[in-house]
Symmetry: C2
Subunit: 149 residues, 2 copies
Amino acid sequence: MSEMLEEIREKLSSVGLKATQQRMVVYQALMQTMNQHPTAERIFEVVRPHNPTISLGTVYKTLDTFVSNGLAGKVASDAGFMRYDVNMEQHSHIYCTNTQEIIDYHDEGLDELIQQYFQKKNIKNLKISNIHVQINGLKEEPDQDIEIK
Amino acid sequence: MSEMLEEIREKLSSVGLKATQQRMVVYQALMQTMNQHPTAERIFEVVRPHNPTISLGTVYKTLDTFVSNGLAGKVASDAGFMRYDVNMEQHSHIYCTNTQEIIDYHDEGLDELIQQYFQKKNIKNLKISNIHVQINGLKEEPDQDIEIK
DNA sequence: ATCGCTGCAAAGGTTTTGCAACGAG
DNA sequence: CTCGTTGCAAAACCTTTGCAGCGAT
């Protein structure tokens, strides 16, 4: 079977976690639904059909385990529930007001620009760990993707 | 008494809302605690002593009314509850990892810089409505304020 | 064999809702 | 007077917790 399973297994053991069935499938589901920035419930829906005995509580626990071990991120959505993200690289988000999508946006040029801006500014008593840009907007053609050149 | 009450009354009627006692005091509390980005519960605590009959449910309803009428903003905190903000000008937030504070940060230079950056970039199918910068960091001296020159 | 993980169900905390009584315009 | 607003309590919602049994190392 795919070497992806092996990769996940390694990822888990690299942070000292047992490679249980549940963790394997939750991690896979996170990867599959990465661009949806899924909720715990969503992961549960994805995983359940092929793993009928997994419980929602376990999904929550598993996701939190990933977060504490740096394998995933967790962000509060404005609708009041949590969304998870396996994309651990520095990146920003584009929120589509009309389609409700959250699109990952990685742009080194922008990151550098902002870093430099703050270096020039003289900020006392704040050690900046990271900066996150949230772009709100709407798709003019909801059915089509956003193109960035 | 202060002309502030009159200002609030006007603000309410300008969006077509009745100036009830409860709305008046909730709005005042929002202003008083502006820099704390209060939760509904916090507003309730502030308001309750002087208004012993107001209920938490009313605070929630009132805050939501303000949000739908553009009188306040609502943001999900990473701890899983909502925080409210009467500062309706375009502004960014500094999150202090150690003190849990959320500090308003308004910087036209930064806003312009980012606007220009995106104008130069050629983005198709996205109409940007606004951009919000979230700066995460920690205070080196938790007891003292952050200074930005 | 051990110790951590899972599943279940119950509890927790925040926010919403339904409805009768109230009050601002 | 009228219709929107309030207060209360119950419900809804998402997430966490406790614990007995299970399973990965």
